[in-house]
Symmetry: C2
Subunit: 469 residues, 2 copies
């Protein structure tokens, strides 16, 4: 038996757009990690913004909940439906055309369903850089990147996804189209409404198109791995490098010796970078439009100063591209090494950068009183104040430890984050995963304003229920 709603949906959009078969729906009901699972009556895959609008208009009329779906690479369950059989999953994957790319204005306009990696390659072919870059870039879609204000590896230099957005086209739950797909660098005509869609996790409407800023290509890179005796020393090093290299500073990544240990023991083909071990390491990358030798010389000089001023203990400069990749692998393979080690409790947090050392000390001290011999793996985008603060079972404990301790340790970590003025979600968002922590730690007045705004855009509450708010 087909409901009125489904009949109208099919009549309006066509059966090739509306999937209602249980087998066809099944693959859309879980997140990629298999952590979340939900339910839905249909998967809708529109080919045009107009079809997105028609779908939302009908859903709104019938009070049917809508779950927007990008590349399904999120880590917080934001694109997975809840348990309600009434859900409609709206996938943007067929809205996947680059609408324009201009190398004079340095702008790109694209459908929301474009794969981030494809957009990066399109920019690169035009001798420009789309700086948004993250591990899932060959699956994630630009609409989802913007709806979750994605971060990634280049935030230090180019900012979060938000800072790359010049314009947005979105469909409101009413089916009205918000036509803000402009490429202007300057436009002071009232409230900047597009900012509300960025990072709203599909709770206000559906982004169907985006206009992005492109940057000049970076053609040369120079990398050094510096050993530091403490997070505080890493901060002093950051101050020196930023002051000397300014806009060339592309990455300032941090990891503890525990992370290095894990990587060396779990991943093949990697070698210890220094003859002795040190408490922590910082990977510094400079990049520039041109001038490889000058860039290398600049990095050598600043690292020379750092050694002289005792802002690091030792330093390994990459002289070849192969060495550069080897140094980066020490940082990049940490996630793989964690996976091999077993379930880790992960916390994507940010802090006022200057308070990272205090936070680390305080959080570890508390952790030791609660879960004495848990293993701690701390690494991340130090230059942005973004730490991946990860906790694993004590040696010898079984793998069920993580599940058992998950909530207690998250509470502890987030309490310490709040104490030092940080954020419980640096770049991954709230989704389903962090709703409890969000409501515990966010200023109630701000939550109230968010709810009020949500009601303005989505009076019937159909957009992505159970996420964020």
């Amino acid at each position: 038996m087909t409901s009125d709603f489904l009949k109208q949906l099919r009549d309006t959009l066509g059966t090739d757009i509306v999937e209602t078969d249980a087998d066809g729906i099944a693959p859309w009901l879980t997140d990629w990690r298999g952590v979340y699972k939900g339910n839905a009556q249909a998967v809708v895959r529109p080919r045009t913004t107009g079809q997105v609008a028609a779908c939302l208009r009908l859903c709104n009329q019938y009070g049917v909940p809508v779950v927007p779906r990008g590349g399904n690479t999120g880590l917080c369950g934001g694109a997975t439906p809840d348990a309600s059989a009434a859900n409609v999953i709206l996938s943007l994957d067929r809205l996947n055309q680059v609408r324009s790319l201009d190398t004079v204005a340095n702008t790109m306009v694209a459908d929301a369903g474009c794969i981030l990696g494809n957009l990066r390659r399109a920019a690169s072919e035009a001798d420009r850089l789309l700086p948004l870059s993250l591990a899932a870039e060959d699956s994630s879609q630009i609409g989802g990147n913007i709806a979750t204000n994605a971060g990634g590896v280049n935030v230090l230099r180019y900012g979060m996804a938000r800072e790359l957005v010049l314009g947005i086209e979105a469909v409101l739950p009413s089916g009205e189209i918000y036509d803000g797909l402009q490429t202007l660098r300057k436009d002071n005509t009232g409230y900047d409404l597009k900012q509300l869609f960025i990072g709203s996790e599909g709770t206000l409407g559906i982004i169907t198109g985006v206009a992005l800023r492109l940057q000049a290509p970076t053609r040369v890179r120079a990398v050094v791995l510096a050993a530091v005796d403490s997070p505080d020393q890493a901060l002093q090093l950051l101050r020196l490098v930023f002051g000397a290299c300014g806009p060339r500073l592309q990455a300032f990544e941090f990891f503890t010796d525990q992370c290095l240990d894990l990587v060396l023991s779990q991943v093949d083909g990697l070698h210890a970078p220094f003859p002795t071990r040190h408490p922590a390491y910082v990977l510094v990358e400079l990049a520039d439009t041109a001038g490889e030798e000058a860039l290398q010389a600049m990095l050598e000089e600043v690292i020379g100063q750092a050694l002289e001023q005792e802002l690091c203990m030792d330093a390994a400069l990459s002289a070849t591209l192969a060495q550069l990749h080897s140094l980066w692998r020490l940082r990049e393979e940490i996630s793989e090494a964690q996976k091999a080690d077993g379930p880790h409790l992960k916390h994507d947090i940010s802090l006022p950068i200057e308070r990272i050392p205090e936070f680390m000390q305080s959080a570890e001290a508390r952790l030791r009183t609660v879960a004495g011999d848990a293993r701690l793996y701390i690494f991340g985008h130090f230059g942005d104040g973004n730490l991946h603060y990860n906790v694993s079972r004590p040696l010898g404990a079984d793998r069920g430890w993580a599940h058992e301790w998950e909530e207690r340790i998250a509470d502890l970590v987030f309490e310490e984050v709040a104490r030092y003025g940080g954020s419980i979600s640096a770049e991954h968002g709230i989704g389903q995963l962090k709703r409890r922590a969000f409501h515990q730690h966010k200023d109630p007045m701000q939550i109230r304003l968010m709810r009020d705004i949500k009601r303005l855009f989505d009076p019937n509450g159909i957009m992505n229920p159970g996420k964020l708010l």
Copy 2:
């Protein structure tokens, strides 16, 4: 006779905070250019955020309109009260302390009433750069800069004021304090509410504190003035320079030969930069943290390529700081030269950068059919798509011409801007000046959403009535 409201206001805040004497109020009733004049029953000059909150709470209770006042340097009448005798002007000038400055995190937290120039100097003394820079920086206040999303000369490289803001403290009309004064680079916990205050022109609440990002200092500069045969050639030059110099590109300013003519005839001590005259000129500035010779060499190389590829007609490189300043004066003195010439009709507009040549051709053609021999002075931040599109009386016409033609020419210019997808206000905002044009050209749906948001924050409509919406 003193109203209940005024009595309570004085009792709550003290007489040194509340000025009600007509002579004391008079200087606060006009904008700095003397274009707008309004009325008020009191000027309130709080010393703390708490006093701002107490004032707004009372005003809200009594339905008294509030006009926030920063440095009064706006060009659109946004800080001048309307004709109502009920207005309260709330000046931020006594909230003027730097709260913190951190050179590890590269952040500065300051009261909203701090003078922008003072903050720039404080950053500079700490070997950091606060990139927001504009002509009025020694009078304008940072709160006003943020409330109007100020632009200025460094937008090409560092973005508008919005892009420098990490956090905001603001008082809502209810007297509640929005406590968002954080310095985090990454925080994905819900809608980014601070974005609503930025550029809202005091219509949602009053910004009392701001947290700003600082940049690495630029210690060396290199400048070239390039002659171009057309705006299109200027665009091709922009593409070349941006691709080669990337983040060093600090300014890409454009002016027509008519502007050069005006400057040379109205300002003493300036000389024609080239042996012959050309249709237009582009001033390119590169800046870097260090390496003067390398920077100069990079500029010479790229300009050499430009000449070879016929992307400019001639080029004058600055070899000394004195020459650099002379070249800049040709661009910077245009406003002074206009003032000397008499009233100009000014339009602060922006366009998709790649469409500037079409726009210029089309707008001038229309202008010629309407006001045949009006004189046209076009210059601006070409690299941002921001043009100052200025029209002056025909030679021999009297000075009343500007007033007589003001509305017709603005309508024409804004129509052409709309046709090419531009903005009627690039960086100056709407205020009182552009309300009519704003309502003519902004998407009605967006205006409706803005009104809805305004009602959420300010249900009694007390905040800066008659501005923007």
